[in-house]
């Protein structure tokens, strides 16, 4: 009987683990739908408020005229599994393409966009890349955001000469010749968060992150910065999902000490449980400051945390803060999100900003193509993008023919302010003390700051 009970429980645990994965899905569209965003979150509210003065018709060259030419096929691979979903990025890119298609297209051609979702299964990711190219016939890859995709597929893209425009996570998104991201990724964003803490003269840094592949690579940047500042740093990792955030918060605060800083590199839900645990235990003021990499930069998190974290938590922001910026590009982003972004569940925020920027860069590059849209011409155009103002980055964005690409290497710092994230520090270059940043700047130079309107 005991053995039977054991088998029951062991089997149950195994099936529960498998249940963590969901089946893959795919969608393709030429972007003719356009219902208003109904994200149902307060974060979507600013889109309505701030998008009024710019019309979505500005996204294309022929306002109001739907594109009728042969479609230009682009594709994306994004992680979508319980607890980790990056579909908002590709969905926002789709929204931008829908807007372009409804307003003249690219030289008269609509963009047909294929979105593949994956569940961190290497075989699935490799198969999806081949499917996009061989079955769907895409000529460019735009909007990839995946935990593993760069690692799995970069050699395939390089072999085909496909220069992807993505939101990077894995090291290969930044260290290989055919991937250029609009975001900074976990390493350089963590660099920015630690750099801000060091600038506040903390006595020690505790850097805590999810226990996933690549933690050593990510921690290398913050460790280099702390070493250069002669400040001790403690590296911690946590299994996710976190099963008791109270103990995690206690450990971090004990390790940091009263003059130290705790810097987190987690997804928003995990960061939130740690910060809330610290708040419930009265730990938020037991260290000098708390820091966080870009994923914490959401109004969802600011709303859940409340006023006790105002000017206590400092979050690295890889992209221009949307709530306090009213440039033409930012207004266009909000207008497109409102009109075409019904599938963008998170509304205004970093993820949809990334999707907007990637689609914008792609369309800018495609407009420069003369003749046919082939894999060769499209990817040559992508690589030729130079000093482009996305309106979402501190710097002008360049692809270029370099062995590595970190085109976004200046960032902001934001802090919660009664339910909103507001700017605490303007554009600041990530330190070249990180050898990867130094290597990139040596190859590509330092990009100019993007002009505001």
């Amino acid at each position: 009987m005991l053995v039977r009970r054991t088998l029951v429980l062991a089997g149950a645990a195994g099936v529960l683990a498998i249940a963590g994965c969901s089946s893959s899905g795919r969608s393709a569209g030429n972007g003719t739908s356009g219902s208003p965003a109904t994200g149902g979150t307060s974060a979507t509210a600013p889109a309505t408020a701030a998008a009024g003065t710019v019309s979505t018709s500005q996204c294309g060259t022929k306002p109001g005229a739907a594109a009728t030419g042969t479609p230009i096929k682009l594709g994306a691979i994004v992680t979508d599994q319980p607890g980790t979903s990056f579909t908002d990025i590709a969905n926002m890119a789709q929204a931008y393409f829908s807007c372009v298609n409804a307003n003249g297209g690219v030289n008269g051609h609509p963009i047909k966009y294929y979105i593949e979702t994956e569940q961190t299964n290497p075989a699935q990711i490799a198969a999806e890349a081949k499917q996009l190219v061989q079955s769907d016939g895409v000529v460019g890859i735009v909007g990839n955001t995946s935990i593993l995709e760069c690692t799995i597929d970069h050699t395939y893209w390089e072999k085909l000469g496909i220069a992807i425009i993505d939101s990077g996570i894995a090291p290969e998104c930044y260290s290989t010749p055919d991937s250029a991201a609009v975001n900074m990724g976990p390493r350089y964003s963590s660099d920015g968060a630690v750099q801000y803490a060091l600038s506040q003269h903390v006595s020690k840094v505790v850097f805590d992150q999810s226990n996933v592949p690549g933690t050593g690579y990510i921690a290398a940047g913050p460790n280099a910065l702390a070493a250069a500042a002669h400040t001790p740093i403690v590296n911690l990792t946590e299994n996710v999902p976190i099963t008791n955030a109270d103990s995690v918060a206690i450990k971090e605060v004990q390790d940091a000490g009263p003059g130290g800083a705790v810097v987190l590199n987690f997804t928003p839900p995990e960061a939130l449980v740690i910060l809330q645990a610290a708040q419930k235990l009265g730990l938020e003021n037991r260290v000098r400051l708390w820091g966080c990499s870009t994923p914490c930069n959401t109004d969802f998190l600011a709303q859940q945390l409340g006023a006790r974290w105002n000017s206590k938590l400092f979050v690295n922001a890889e992209l221009t803060p949307p709530d306090t910026t009213s440039t033409t590009a930012m207004q266009l982003y909000k207008a497109i999100l409102q009109q075409y972004g019904s599938k963008v569940s998170g509304g205004v925020g970093s993820f949809s900003q990334m999707g907007f920027a990637e689609a914008e860069i792609a369309v800018h590059a495609l407009e420069s193509v003369t003749g046919g849209y082939t894999m060769a011409t499209v990817n040559a155009a992508f690589k030729a993008v130079s000093n482009f103002n996305t309106g979402m980055n501190c710097q002008l964005w360049t692809y270029g023919s370099y062995s590595m690409h970190i085109p976004n290497n200046e960032d902001y710092t934001v802090t919660p302010d009664n339910g909103k994230m507001v700017q605490a520090q303007g554009c600041t270059a990530v330190s070249s003390v990180d050898p990867q940043i130094a290597g990139y700047r040596q190859a590509a130079g330092t990009a100019q700051l993007a002009p505001s309107d």
């Binding site: 005991l2 645990a13 607890g83 009265g282 859940q304």
Partner: protein
């Protein structure tokens, strides 16, 4: 190695978590004893209740309405499952009964992932009024939610033990656990007794879901998987003893949290439920083999 002073806060957090595990574990044991079902959807129904409570509170409902909705949802789903599938599965093997509850788990899990997506960096939380007040023991800050977590575990475990021992319904549940057919022939309304067990288990799932959403995280994946810790406590107690389930749950919570500041073991602390359950199984199996040999 951490000092004694460093370890003290981890005792508090471990006991609080263990208390909620105990509450969950007791619910599982009671249901198993009455129906023979290992209810693997316990965490998922609690998560569903907590997410509904979150949505109601966010929409402007008073907190207590949300909490009641959480418990009511978990109770209704569990009771509904028990009423619909319980009789059909009553004579099936325990493994079949357990796997059948996985179906419910997967349906709820999928629905929660669809309705409360984590896309776009969305994060949610439930906070209880007890979070913001507490007291200090030495240098350790204790909040009232932690006290409630441990207290609920104690009260539920003691209350359930008394209920099973001293009440008519509890006696009927124990009788059904021993032999369903004979109990039925004695005139005990078996289905009604089983329905009461399903309802009780559902109520405990709702209470546990609410407390765990506050103490751990309001996340469907996390809460669904947390049932494993409670299951391990129930398994250590061989799915029989309420008192032993309570003690095992506290042990799981304590060992898990006390390993947190130990750098070399910290990343392995999530193995605590499995390791303790495996050790308990080995010890009890060895004991049974030796007893059989002696006999």
């Amino acid at each position: 190695m951490p000092t004694w002073t460093d370890l003290q806060p981890f005792f508090v957090s471990g006991l609080a978590l263990g208390g909620v595990y105990a509450l969950s574990g007791v619910g599982l044991v009671v249901l198993y004893r009455a129906t023979g079902v290992v209810y693997l959807a316990f965490g998922a129904v609690g998560a569903l209740g907590a997410l509904i409570a979150y949505s109601m509170i966010k929409a402007g409902a008073p907190g207590w309405v949300g909490w009641l909705a959480c418990v009511a949802t978990a109770a209704a789903v569990t009771l509904g499952y028990g009423l619909v599938f319980g009789p059909a599965l009553a004579r099936r093997d325990p493994l079949v009964k357990a796997v059948a509850t996985l179906g419910l788990t997967l349906i709820l899990f999928g629905a929660m992932d669809l309705l409360w997506t984590t896309g776009g960096g969305q994060s949610r939380a439930i906070t209880l009024p007890a979070d913001n007040s507490g007291f200090t023991i030495g240098q350790v800050q204790v909040n009232w939610t932690q006290v409630i977590g441990l207290g609920a575990g104690v009260v539920i475990a003691a209350g359930t033990a008394c209920f099973l021992r001293y009440t008519k319904l509890g006696t009927a549940m124990r009788a059904i656990a021993n032999d369903r057919e004979i109990t039925a022939t004695l005139g005990v309304p078996v289905r009604r007794v089983e329905a009461a067990a399903w309802l009780g288990c559902g109520i405990l799932a709702g209470v546990a879901g609410l407390l765990l959403a506050d103490l751990v995280a309001l996340d469907a994946t996390t809460l669904t998987f947390l049932v494993i810790s409670s299951l391990s406590a129930a398994l250590i107690a061989r799915l029989r003893s309420v008192a032993l389930t309570f003690a095992a749950a506290l042990l799981v919570g304590l060992v898990h949290d006390l390993l947190t500041p130990v750098q070399a073991l910290s990343n392995y602390r999530d193995m605590t439920p499995f390791a303790l359950a495996a050790m308990a199984l080995l010890v009890t199996s060895r004991h049974r083999v030796m007893s059989a040999g002696e006999g």
